[in-house]
Symmetry: C2
Subunit: 543 residues, 2 copies
């Protein structure tokens, strides 16, 4: 990072002609952040063997006695239905523990189920036959995409059958004129985006797990990610959803039209429903043209107030080209440094850092706007120091300081993760209050006798979305009890959301009342009962 | 328009310094297009007396005998509930025909109901009490906003009670930092936008009827409008909906958070449900910063192929600042000229015209991009001639050629309006095919013996959304039969939508099958039955 232009220095040299930033195709600029989460099932396998069963970690969860147990007869049916041996992992009539384990556990090593059967359908018709059968037999199921979630939503709790979507992985069509992409649910996000990159378009969603997560899972969990600020939520960009209901009904809603006001917008129900209403088998989505130039700047600030000022100025100066405004606190950056061994992008340390990305169609215009913004915040004393990426390596390097946090934390033992929405003025206060609380209780310290290693905050400032992460040496019930429900009460008082983008899963199910009132919960339960009267879809989770 | 810079001429003078376009605040630039649709109830009153009753025009619609008739007792209850005399227009126990008529008819003079009771609640609690009572008594109701719709969705068919939302018209809150606006459903769109303009923000929806339509009605009908291309659909921008269900339940979903993944996104069901599930009483919506500079260009083209080329180039050159790309055919512009007496913006006549608007944060950058685009399409021979607005009067003048079409058509007798989505390659073909069909049948001609005066096409090219308008000397069943269901079959063959943004209402109810399959229709009917088991909400319409 030493060759990155330090714009504080550049500003002091006032009249020296500014280096021009030459726009490069974004294709090569998107950092390979996937690596930070692109784990293989093998690595998960090694991990899950030591992981506690969810049924033990959550003793209040009891297997629903209304569900049938899987029989050899059932397995026979599925094997005949799906044909290919690779489509059924059978731990019921055979010993397949090692093959099954990766599907029972999550990458955080927090959740672990008891399934003995994994099915990998290859078409919506197969999904339909599976669900119709399961619904008739009252066999519970868990739809599973890339299994990159953070709330235990995509792994079984008991013996639910895993319906893994990885074999439904075809790109069905792309229309260059309208930007509409139609894909199978099991297409990996990064694969979809690379396909679009070759056609000069961009998938309007980007997140750390892009190398593993499925677009179907993204839609099922209403993923937010890094560029929601610019491209909006999936409720706006997804044009159509093809889904199979528990009774086997195929809902063919794969519209490729941007506008279609003919009746209730059924697809919206499935966006964010976490596999509790049906299984998404395909989506259509409108994709913007790929920006011709992308820039990224990184700067240090002395206070959260200054972070807020910088964000306000970024919105004013960068407006339509602002594509990300990310906040990272000093502690989170320290963890990345320790984990990667990389040198800080800036000299000295600061309590706060921001990453600002622009994406636009004219490199010179964008750079002029960005320089105007940076000069303004420097001259106003809003930021202390900053760098602007000058080439692709620096671009990736800077993004690594934001994207590397999850990875850095994962090396430390365990992490209690809270993904919350809070109105901007108090966004970071939660981190300070949480740290103070845990410190007072004697949980936080540098040596191994303290359960808590660090309380860090970072996230999507542009969306009022904070990730509060409590890094622990190992998962610890006392620490957990000190955080919950305190953290949810704190959020409720500020009319925030206890789950901004990660969803509910197992982790947040019992806390939904902090963000939804009784009326809304009743209405949600009505919908669940309407679509899934037997309750076989992803039970023990969500609402 | 004579002083508008003709860029064809400017390009011929190659090296002459180009006039600089100075960005002005958009506040004063938004044309007063509302005037084209800002009719008063008085004018509607005069009109409705001659309008055929919907129950006569649609003899297959029969009053549901399950609904109760309104009694004097009911009127007494509502008067006591609502208190203010202005809150109840009572044609049941008194003669109030003249006062009631404006609420029975629509502005197009196409639909007319038989209601004898209009209620104007002022709070969600009043709406709740009204609906609870009506649901208990099985009294049918029609929610009514600004009554600017085009499909007869907001006027009664028989004696449904009109619940007019005009007295729920308060702006509840606005947060400058996040851009989140919370308003009553009965706030007029233009009022909301003016309020935001004073605070440097923009309502992310704009349409011709802005001077009369309510934001609640916009959300209930999922209005699209002029800038969907830039700001996306209401499914993405609306953050929360407060609605009252038929049983009086108040669904308080007025979230002000951009991200909230805690359960099914209930509000989405109400967006575009046209008052059939409940009554929207308030909305929260995320509003972008108001662009600092807005430009508009208007040009003539020789073929629809060139229109498509121009659109493709506009997306490439203007990208993030493109805020509207509108198509108007030559016939539609001729009608505007005849109606307004204004001189054409361009010399000569062309079969197609486009209007391109940019909105951005830097006037110089925007003008450079726009000039680059215009020079490119001129030098490539894609467009024949064009003008670029140089001041506010010209800006308004140019928009008048697009916005004035509806008004111009309304002077001609009647208009059969079709608002459809069709994939771009064949978008305009529908107009040609329809004109050819009606001409062959001997319906089209210049003198008064022909029922059809003109078949015109215009619309939101950027959203693949065409408005096919057939101007008739008077509404004529033979013409109608020649158009329908032919037009719907034509659209179905191309996987289009028979209603892109206008909704279903009475007009499109029976044709929904052309755009939705049986499975989807069954699912929609399930939802309707779940929320409104007595079917009292806006009956005889929608699905």
């Amino acid at each position: 990072m030493s060759s990155a232009r330090n714009f504080a220095v550049a500003l002091r040299r006032a009249r020296v002609p500014k280096p021009r930033f030459i726009g490069r195709p974004i294709v090569s600029q998107i950092p390979a952040v996937a690596a930070t989460r692109a784990f293989t099932n093998t690595s998960t396998l090694r991990a899950t063997k030591e992981v506690k069963y969810t049924s033990d970690a959550y003793p209040n969860l009891k297997r629903n006695p209304g569900f049938a147990g899987i029989t050899a007869e059932d397995v026979k049916f599925f094997k005949e239905l799906l044909g290919s041996p690779s489509a059924v992992i059978d731990g019921v009539t055979a010993d397949a523990a090692d093959d099954i384990e990766p599907f029972n556990g999550d990458w955080m090593r927090k959740y672990r189920g008891h399934t003995k059967l994994v099915l990998k359908p290859q078409s919506k018709e197969e999904v339909s036959e599976i669900l119709k059968y399961c619904n008739g037999r009252k066999l519970a199921v868990v739809p599973q995409g890339g299994n990159t979630g953070l709330v235990g939503g995509s792994v079984p709790v008991f013996d639910e059958i895993v319906i893994n979507m990885s074999r439904m992985n075809k790109i069905r069509s792309f229309d260059d004129a309208s930007g509409v992409l139609v894909v199978d649910a099991g297409v990996i996000l990064e694969v979809a985006d690379q396909y679009l990159a070759e056609r000069n378009h961009l998938f309007p969603l980007d997140l750390g797990a892009k190398g593993s997560c499925h677009v179907g899972g993204n839609v099922a969990t209403n993923a937010g990610g890094l560029r929601l600020l610019r491209y909006g939520s999936l409720h706006g960009t997804v044009l159509g959803v093809e889904a199979v209901l528990p009774d086997g009904t195929i809902m063919d809603g794969l519209s490729t039209l941007r506008k279609n006001n003919t009746g209730y917008d059924l697809k919206q129900l499935f966006i964010g429903s976490e596999g509790t209403l049906g299984i998404i088998t395909g989506i259509s989505i409108i994709c913007p043209p790929r920006p011709k130039a992308v820039n990224v700047a990184y700067f240090g600030l002395e206070s959260y107030d200054q972070v807020r000022q910088a964000f306000k100025e970024a919105k004013g100066h960068l407006s339509e080209i602002l594509s990300a405004f990310e906040l990272m606190d000093g502690r989170s950056q320290k963890l990345v440094r320790q984990s990667t061994g990389n040198k800080y992008p800036l000299e000295g340390e600061h309590p706060f850092y921001c990453l600002v990305e622009t994406s636009g169609s004219n490199a010179e215009h964008d750079m002029e706007k960005l320089e105007g913004f940076l000069e303004h915040i420097m001259s106003e004393g809003i930021v202390a120091d900053g760098v602007l990426a000058q080439d692709e390596t620096q671009f990736q390097g800077i993004w690594g300081w934001r994207e590397g946090i999850t990875e850095a934390l994962s090396h430390l033992g365990g992490t209690y993760k809270y993904d919350v929405s809070i109105p901007l003025p108090e966004l970071y206060q939660l981190v300070d209050d949480c740290r103070e609380r845990l410190t007072k209780l004697g949980f936080v310290g540098d040596d191994d006798s303290f359960p808590v290693r660090a309380v860090v905050g970072y996230g999507h400032m542009g969306d009022s979305n904070l990730h509060l992460n409590i890094a622990v040496r190992q998962y610890n019930k006392d620490v957990e009890k000190a955080i919950e429900p305190w953290v949810y009460e704190w959020i409720q008082k500020r009319n925030g959301s206890i789950s901004a983008e990660h969803g509910l899963g197992v982790a947040k199910k019992e806390f939904i009342g902090y963000s939804q009132n009784d009326t809304n919960l009743t209405l949600m339960k009505q919908l669940k009962a309407l679509y899934d009267p037997n309750g076989i879809m992803n039970p023990y989770k969500y609402i």
